[in-house]
Amino acid sequence: MKPYLREKKSFAFEDIPEDTCFEAGYLVTVNSGWRSRTPQIDNEKCIGCGQCYLYCPDGVIAMDGKTPVIDYDFCKGCGICAKICPKSAIELR
């Protein structure tokens, strides 16, 4: 199951569990604010090899068939995708 952003973000006394056990993959904050540069994919150049998908430390690139799609909510802009791309199809702007 892929962790995802939830509606309920703040927890009052009653909502806090007794134990330290909670639903897996419960996200309340995004990481987009970490980014100073944003990767942009040039779909003309992209050959759909999926290297960017494989090597993304945050797992924010998904392959929609042969097209990589970036989840900008959680991309930190590290630029590994741009470096790994064999066709230089990703640029950080």
């Binding site: 007794e18 330290t20 056990c21």
Partner: protein, 385 residues
């Protein structure tokens, strides 16, 4: 069925009845007999448990926590240095609300090295969030092996449980012990069910961090569980009594305290000798009584205040000392009196460290000297005041 068993063996019999899924333990004197007996039971098929030969006490508890997080009943046993070595895991299990049950054979802590009984090991770890019970005889040891699971695993409690047996004096002393019927134990103790565990249908993240905003609330809830445990202990004892005919008395066990002028408060096996001497003093016209603390956590604040309210003086007899202050039991008892506004003078007698015998004369001396002079800490029988 009656059998002639040592405290360690009796405890192992209790564990056979409670049938934990996972046992992870490392040998240490004077706990060793427990792990030997359990290994034999697993070998001969009379105990259906996974016995894991961990390489240390730290791993013993870490493994038990892991198994508990996987959703099964767990057991570990240790003593002294071993308890201290696994100390990191104590607040861990407690904060995670994993109802691990542990037997601790109370033993002195190094240095100097000493394998004999005192209670400095478990009392040093009183604040780690475990329920702590101190058994007085082999029968209670066995019964607590069973009852501890009922209490620890109860949904209102969900807290780890440490049963303490005085090293050698209880772990290695033989008594006639009644072993409850297995079927009736099943009736008493339901299988462990929890949501505080891994689940492949609804995956869980467990043992997480909690920042300053929420951490405090987790800690409060941990504390609240101990208040709830007081009721669950009573309920467990009532049900246990109905099924097995043996009565237990909650957080404390009182002996002739109702009209007592002089009361000794103690833990574990020392209470037996205190009762004998209280009888003796009663025959001599002195109104002596004994209050045995069974549970150091949750602590019997009310019981103590009530028992000491009308006494002329009271003394704590304890096999521990918190260096630079009084004994840990004393400090707790004194707080109980303070909560309740009871002003009975309270004395502290430290004895039995490193297994030194507590004698008949020592206890008579406690009764005779309490109430005389200002309350103080007395190290018994070493020729200093």
């Amino acid at each position: 069925m009656k059998r002639f068993l040592s405290g360690d063996e009796a405890f192992a019999e209790g564990i056979r009845l409670a049938c934990p899924d996972v046992i992870s333990a490392y040998p240490i004197t004077p706990q060793t007999v427990v792990v030997e007996r359990l290994s034999e039971m697993v070998e001969d098929g009379s105990l259906d448990s996974e016995f894991i030969h961990v390489e240390s006490e730290h791993s013993a508890l870490s493994c038990a926590i892991g198994a508990s997080a996987a959703g099964v009943r767990t057991f570990t046993a240790t003593s002294s240095q071993g308890l201290l070595y696994m100390a990191e895991g104590l607040p861990y299990a407690a904060g995670g609300r994993f109802p691990v049950v542990m037997m601790n054979a109370n033993r002195a802590t190094a240095l100097p090295w000493n394998i004999y009984g005192d209670q400095r090991d478990s009392l040093a770890l009183l604040d780690t969030g475990w329920i702590q019970e101190y058994a007085a005889d082999a029968q209670e040891a066995l019964d607590m092996a069973v009852m501890s699971y009922y209490i620890a695993e109860h949904r209102d409690v969900s807290t780890p449980f440490m049963v303490n047996l005085d090293g050698f004096v209880l772990t290695h002393t033989y008594e006639n012990v009644d072993i409850p019927d297995r079927e009736r134990v099943r009736e008493f103790l339901p299988p462990y069910e929890t949501e505080n565990c891994f689940d492949f249908e609804h995956p869980k993240n467990i043992g997480f961090s909690a920042g300053p905003e929420t951490n405090f609330i987790f800690k409060y809830k941990e504390h609240r569980a101990f208040e709830r445990a007081i009721h669950v202990i009573k309920e467990a004892e009532r049900r246990f009594g109905e099924l097995f005919g043996r009565k237990y008395t909650g957080l404390a066990e009182e002996y002739l305290t109702e009209d007592a002028d002089y009361v000794i408060i103690t833990l574990g096996t020392a209470a037996g000798l205190c009762r004998t001497i209280a009888d003796e003093l009663r025959r001599e016209g002195v109104k002596a009584g004994v209050l045995r603390i069974r549970y150091m956590r949750p602590f019997p604040n009310e019981e103590i205040a009530r028992a000491l309210k009308n006494a002329k003086a009271a003394a704590v007899l304890e096999k521990d000392i918190s260096f630079g202050n009084a004994g840990t039991v004393y400090v707790n008892v004194a707080a109980a009196l303070q909560w309740a506004g009871v002003s009975t003078p309270l004395y502290d007698f430290v004895g039995g460290l490193g297994g030194k015998d507590i004698t008949h004369a020592d206890i008579r001396n406690i009764y005779e000297s309490m109430g005389k002079g200002a309350p103080r800490v007395t190290f018994m029988g070493i020729g200093v005041e």
